[in-house]
Amino acid sequence: MAAFKSIIMPNRLEIALNPDLFDAEGEGIRQKAFHYFGIKLSRVCAINVLTIDADLTADQLKTIQTEIFTNPVTQTSSFDPIPIEFDWIIWVGFRPGVRDNPGSTAVEAVEDILGVKFKQGEAIYTSKRYCLKGKGLTSEDADKIAGELLANEVIQRWKIYSKQDWDNKSGIGIIIPKVKLDHKPVVMSIPIDSDETLKGISDERNLALNPNDIPTIRAYFLSEKVRAERALVGLSDPTDIEIEYISQARSDHCNHNTFQGLFHYQDLSTGHAEVVDNIFETCIKEPTLLLKEKKPWVVSVLWDNAGAGQFDDDHYYVITGETHNSPSNMEAYGGAITGIVGVYRDPMGTGKGAKLIMGGYGYCVGQRDYNGDLTPHLHPRRLLDGVIEGVRDGGNKSGIPTTFGQLLFHPGYMGKSLVFVTAIGIMPAQIKGEPSEQKKTSPGDLVIMCGGRVGKDGIHGVTAASEVFSESTPAGHVQIGDPYTQKKMHDFILEVRDKGLIRFITDNGGGGLSSSVGESALFSNGCEIELEKVPLKYEGLDQWEIWISESQERMTVAIRPEDLDSFLALSKKHAVESAVIGKYTDSGKLHITYNGKTCAYIDLDFLSSGFPQWEFDAHWQEPEKRGLFEPVVREPGDYEALLTDILSRPNICSREWISRQYDHEVQGTSVIKPLVGAGRDVNSDASVIRPVLDSEKGLAFAQALLPAYSAIDAYHMTACAIDEAVRRLIAVGADLDMIGGVDNFCWPNIQYDPEDNPDGRFKAAQLVRSCLALRDICLTYGIPLLSGKDSMYIDGYLAGRYGETHKVSALETIQFSTISVIDDINKCITMDSKIPGDLVYILGETGNELGGSEYYEHYGYVGLNVPQVHSRQFATLYRALGSAIEKEVLASAHGIYRGGLGVHLTMVAMGGDLGMKVDLALVPSAQVNRIDTLLFSESAGRFIVTIDPEKKKIFEDIFKGLPCACIGVITDKSGDLIISDSKNRGKSKTIISIPVQDLKAAWKKPFKDL
């Protein structure tokens, strides 16, 4: 490309909103500048800039200006800078090589309307020019707004102009962010004369090879047999492409070395020691296979991109969950959109391909208003805003409803924030008479890459995710997902699938072709790849870069050679690029050539042989021995203020602003929405959709996150998260026996190091205990783990006030997702109270379990008595509740989650916009004598339900012998929440009496302006 000499005169078109129109974008920036930095702007105008680097005539330019790029009603445009008043101007554009989605669609439109084809190297680039007005605005202010609000230096660059700097003739000038790689691709040979040499190369190239793997790698390439075989194809020492391939495949991200590790677990309190070999095998795989035997609805688990369960006779649903933490911490919007769009490729690459039907999200970040001394790469507020917007655009533009999500604040996530994304799809049970969940490659099948092209983006994303975040993490792994390109590919894949053309399909995610081709070739036992056939975004990529690039929106598909023509015809129809890049063989080898010359030749089974197992010391110490205790707090007097304040806590208050910007109804399947109730503004326990439009069956979906309990014991954190996610589904009408789960672990580094990770052994013990809880609870509830992932390094080093750095590790975190088929959606219920006069019941027992609670956190305590899950007893109650909903006895059901009874009674009242009067003395409890404990204990296994008084008898019969008590009644519209205590323990009888509308206002207040 360096040789390409531009003789074209590029043009720059500026487009602005007519001044009489309200500039919502500018206004948003104005407000953020004030809220983020306290900078007062009087006005912001955003101008869109198109830099057209193509050989077009003046007439052609005029045509595209008026016909495409200028709305005659709302916009003005000009090839000269548009004169708009300003005090400062900020220009922001992409760095070279960063995906410019509007730039590509602009080319498409221009080619179409002009009937021309852009030549190699011609392009349209988009950027923005902002005109800022504000009294006394300084250049520092402008710099802050540019660097911390408008642009992210990882992917964008900016320029600032004062009034003096600005020349209204030349404007921003002509800036062409074209990638110019003055580089001839070359395969390097990697010396392996010693372990140290290879270790040195690993460090130099950022390969993150595990030192323990190095001898195994060397032994392979030094073996006589291997050397003899390699000599025949012209190779001796390993090539860079081979070492990169091994590095990708052996990374913790791809290979889950931690979960397959050997844990030397020791309980320091009892002296008990045991070896736990491979927690994946013992706590995830074995229980799930056991449950699969018993549950015929479990279709496909533990091997594919997503797990599959039976929806009905003709359909399977598929589900998987991912995290996209490291990239989102670097560039929040780009990382998050890439995350959601990326996880949506998993169902597309499950079985012979599934259609996407639903998505979920979970964000764990530092406090939004953090103003302490630590300086994370992105302030939590900015990071959160970016992440929310990334998932919004990724989900909405994919046409997939985002129906459930969570947001959790905790200072531990300042080190690394978590972005969970979950994808659910559906596929026909059979495709042309073949089982849809099965797929394989066969010798002779063609290897096809379809979707986007390959560039330098995303190189070493996988290995970066396997490292603790530091300033030297290469920025190159950040990318911007393109839902538009992927949506086209999605529609294309479904059509070729239904024609029976797909033999195998998988996505190009972490590791790129290296992973997708490597894994798919295991089925046929070999492949030959011609790397020069891979479509590139620009010339100059080294072979190893093509092989491991994580450029997005790509799938790898295997088809029969005779199907190629029909495949490519449909590819063309859907405007999706597809290229044959090789074929599957049964040679046992991964064989890669570039222009006919071999650059990789490796035994496919090498990766599954002979690598040493990772080992961890895991030391457990009981919470009491770690110095945890129950705080000494005497009972409060002002419960009204207390409840109101807890409702306004960041982890309890309304998040309506997020749910409303996520399209949760596209596809026309919505049954239970994320926000429900009379005001359509209170969170539902779970979401339900009707994925097959002409069927009355549904899919219920929910998630839970309870990391606060990890401060006491990750066993109970895990148990409670599973229990909450289960109860959420039960509350809308799911059947316990139909629930499947997805586990997403996010853990701080567990490898002990006396200096860098002194509590690594404790974190390792927490992981072992968490996995044991996963096994125990899933077995008693009977929940097969349909899918799961782990992300192991949620730590970061943050700069402090004096130039020092602090390692910040997040709490051990599991996000547990649940999914279930609903037999008849017409029987689903919501959590909101329905009708005055209805009776309020509590199901389940409240214990003295305030440890790790929101209540203690409110005072700054951790406590000791963490909630415990008595899964066998709970299961009986859940079945009874399931049967009550099936018999349509209930008017509403709601689980009691974070914040306890006080918070969740309020939710039920707010849901109905109705008053409620309850007596705490009637709450079933295990000798709880304090009102604060009754109100805020977070005991698991509980629900609040309301019923028609006429159903009292039928209802009570169903729950005979179970913890169940009527504690009060629903009262009038806009009534009060009245909580009293008839035991009257020396206090006034009425503890709380507040209008429900006031409680709602308090609950909505914190984020109401967002």
């Binding site: 709302t74 602009a106 046409g399 405007a575 399209d663 026309g668």
Partner: protein
């Protein structure tokens, strides 16, 4: 009687094609999802259809303005065929991104038979964000709009970032004069939203949610009738069900308001 044939556009980032086709089928039409390229390359002909639906979604990612590139491509490649389709007395419906496309092609407002002039914009919501919510809609009983016949008030979901109806005063006045304003955002009790958020969710001038051409056969609206294809789509359905149950009545499982809008289209041909 032959079924009415409906063409539902698909591809290039559109995403409501499945449920729109389903809604049309429920309404009694025979619906076919057709990729934009199949229409452009002539492998599917408009001649075989009586209803054409421009569906919701993000065509071409909505870059350069919602519906703009879709409009350019269809205008460039189909141009006269679209006009002929309209001339033949057929129906055109544009929902959300489809509405945005219709105004960018110029099929709306279609004053005095001019189906080429762009005089209306659907631009960024005043709230500054994409928004998914249900809205109340007041229907103009005097409108010639085929799709809204028999309605006076209904609720539908909106899901868009660029739905603010905008035009100059002259155009707006003319739209009202011609009764082309078929549908306006309203308060839950039925009066006009009067630009109150979130009842008017995007800042549309005069609360305009949907307009038709002077013949009433071309209709564009921001709300999504196809997403109200089952009673359980309605946000209040669990509440309504409980109230109905207590009265001893049975839940009405007949056609939803969304489906009735499509039935109006089908009936238009069946009654001819």
């Amino acid at each position: 009687m032959n079924k009415v044939n409906a063409l539902v556009l698909a591809g290039y980032g559109l995403n409501c094609d499945n449920e729109t086709a389903y809604a049309l089928e429920l309404a009694g039409a025979s619906a076919r999802r057709v990729h934009i390229n199949s229409l452009i390359d002539g492998s599917v002909s408009l001649d075989d259809f009586q209803i054409m639906v421009f569906v919701g979604g993000f065509s071409w990612g909505d870059d350069h303005g919602a519906g703009v590139i879709q409009a350019v491509r269809l205008k460039t490649n189909l141009g006269d065929k679209l006009l002929e389709f309209v001339d033949r007395g057929n129906l055109v419906l544009g929902i959300c991104n489809g509405f945005q496309t219709l105004v960018n092609i110029g099929l709306l407002p279609g004053f005095a038979g001019d189906y080429k002039t762009r005089s209306i914009a659907l631009t960024f919501n005043d709230c500054g964000n994409f928004r998914d919510d249900w809205v109340s809609l007041k229907v103009n009983p005097s409108s010639p709009c085929v799709f809204t016949k028999g309605f006076d008030f209904l609720e539908l979901p909106i899901r868009h970032g660029e739905g603010k109806f905008y035009s100059d005063k002259v155009v707006i006045e003319r739209l009202f004069e011609n009764n082309q304003v078929a549908m306006q955002y309203a308060m839950p009790k039925g009066s006009l939203a009067d630009n109150r958020f979130p009842f008017n969710p995007n800042g549309s001038i005069n609360d305009i949610a949907g307009i038709c051409d002077p013949t009433g056969r071309i209709f564009g609206l921001m709300p999504h009738p196809e997403a109200y294809n089952h009673r359980t789509n309605h946000p209040d359905w669990t509440r309504d069900k409980e109230i109905i149950k207590r009265r001893g009545s049975v839940v009405d499982t007949g056609a939803t308001a969304g489906i009735r809008m499509f039935q109006n289209a089908v009936d238009f041909f069946n009654k001819m």
